[in-house]
């Protein structure tokens, strides 16, 4: 920090990213609430632990290797940037208490919270029949490997997808949501539905949440955390000199992760308008169903996220609306056609909405520069369509499917049938009942004395 302006900028940036972290923590709280609410009473504490343990496991693995992948793999498989990766290895001096580096820790944590989100999206769809130990392996694969490879490729100022394809995905429609939805679908194909979900004649049973109110409050809390997610996607304050690209003059700006100029005002408009469009459309298509209306708010934001750095607010609203209608129809069509039991609709709300968001962005922002640097492809429909396929299919569905297949081949993926029928919490519920009976008996004895 050479002078007071440098010091102020550095400390502001440090504090800015730090604030996003507790905000994004709310996303995880919300996911836990809605996932637990969606499970049946006999599984709910187990469901909570399955999701909660994402926090430590993805955190430590993202420290061990996830962060290094982001910095070293932006041109992978063509090359690996060992030099850029070196400062982000777990043994680097910048990865600890360091007076000369005030940014790495908070920037790492902002990315880490995205990693939790990616794993948490998958968690909801597989409830009530996956082994926790298997899910935790899958959480590390999506949270500390797959998503961060896609971030290096398509969510990095010099990622090859940005350079060559003109890929644009400012608030992570593809790099978080499409990949996590695709990953969840890959796992679900191998895992299979919950017992009783589908009748022998192909009929679909509605396994109702044990607490619909908790589900909706959980989604509401995810909205709150989503603010942190959006803000964390920006670089808060940087000079043209700091960017080092084609920009001229001395006007400092906020930028996207690609270092292309935007403003906090822009994303505030668009976040709220796409949320609103999503909720309104979902209310209509679901005929006022609370779960789908809240989910529609999320899907609306997710569909508009790829271009929410630039869209007009009404465009964001309309894109959110269109996305939600397609996502809603797709969810039930896939459920009917392929007998996929996605317990919370995560594949639809995140996967299909994210995919669609990236594709729509390629058309709406066609020709806009994807980067402030010379020689990059401009944003275009084909580049974003290929990008969406990479996110959902190559880095989402495929790793999920392959990892689930491997776990399944060892009998390590799905809980035993008896446990699924009794409920994962059966023993603790029995113990609770025994404790209650014991206290009741003692109270009765006291009354009779």
């Amino acid at each position: 920090m050479g002078n007071n302006l440098d010091a102020l900028t550095t400390v502001f940036t440090e504090f800015y990213y730090w604030v996003t972290i507790p905000l994004m923590f709310l996303i995880h709280v919300g996911f836990c609430m809605y996932e637990v609410g969606a499970s049946r009473r006999k599984n709910h504490m187990h469901t909570l632990m399955k999701n909660s343990m994402i926090i430590p496991l993805v955190t430590i693995t993202f420290y061990f290797f996830g962060w290094w992948i982001y910095w070293a793999f932006y041109n992978f498989p063509m090359s690996i940037d060992w030099a850029a990766g070196a400062a982000n290895t777990p043994w680097a001096e910048s990865m600890g208490t360091n007076i000369g580096d005030r940014i790495t820790g908070v920037f790492w944590a902002a990315f880490l919270l995205f990693s939790w989100t990616a794993a948490s999206i998958v968690s909801g769809s597989v409830i009530e029949r996956i082994k926790s130990s298997a899910f935790w392996v899958l959480a590390v694969v999506i949270g500390s490997v797959a998503w961060i490879i896609d971030a290096a490729w398509g969510w990095h100022p010099t990622g090859w997808m940005v350079r060559i394809l003109g890929y644009h995905d400012a608030y992570a429609s593809g790099v978080i949501h499409a990949i996590a939805g695709g990953f969840a679908l890959g796992v679900l194909v191998v895992l299979g539905p919950r017992l009783g979900k589908f009748g022998k004649d192909g009929s679909i049973r509605d396994i109702v949440p044990h607490n619909p109110w908790l589900v909706c409050v959980g989604l509401f809390i995810i909205y709150a955390g989503f603010w942190g997610f959006y803000v964390a996607c920006n670089v808060p304050l940087i000079s043209p000199e700091g960017i080092g690209g084609l920009l001229t003059g001395e006007t400092w700006t906020a930028t996207t992760i690609y270092l292309t100029p935007t403003t906090l005002s822009a994303i505030t408009f668009n976040f709220l308008m796409s949320l609103s469009g999503g909720m309104m459309a979902a209310f209509v298509v679901s005929k006022g169903d609370a779960f789908w209306t809240y989910s529609g708010g999320l899907a609306g934001i997710i569909t508009a996220s790829a271009g929410n750095d630039l869209y007009h607010p009404i465009q964001a609203m309309l894109i959110g609306m269109v996305g939600v209608v397609i996502v809603y129809k797709m969810h039930f069509w896939v459920e009917r056609k392929f007998k996929i039991d996605d317990a919370v609709g995560a594949v639809a709300v995140h996967g299909y909405a994210g995919f669609l968001g990236v594709v729509i962005c390629g058309f709406v922002l066609w020709g806009h520069p994807s980067s402030p640097y010379e020689g990059y492809a401009a944003i275009n429909p084909l580049g974003n369509f290929i990008g969406a396929l990479i996110m959902f299919g190559l880095l989402g569905f495929l790793p999920g499917f392959i990892t689930a297949k491997i776990l399944n081949s060892f009998g390590a993926l799905r809980i035993p049938r008896e446990i699924e029928l009794m409920g994962l919490d059966f023993d603790s519920m029995e113990a609770e009942q025994a404790a209650r009976d014991d206290v009741d008996a003692a109270v009765k004895k006291l009354i009779n004395e």
Binding site: F64, P90, N98, E418, D427
Partner: protein, 65 residues
């Protein structure tokens, strides 16, 4: 008795621009990573075994009733 500082900082009579890492036992990072990774992998192995045994016990205790 005088001890060497574990952090490399023995006095704050320094210009902060010359100060970098100040965590204790610098130079042991690779060992720390090895221990940390071993703890992580060990945790997964333990969990896998524990869950398998726990389900087996539950089935024996409750299902056969």
């Amino acid at each position: 008795m005088i001890f060497m500082s574990t952090t490399g900082i023995e006095s704050w009579a320094v210009d902060l621009k010359d100060v970098g890492a100040i965590y204790p036992f610098q130079g042991t990072e690779v060992v720390l990573v090895i221990v940390g990774v071993a703890a992580w992998i060990g945790w997964h192995i333990w969990c896998n075994k524990w869950e398998k045994e726990h389900h087996k016990e539950m089935i024996e205790k409750y299902w056969k009733k």
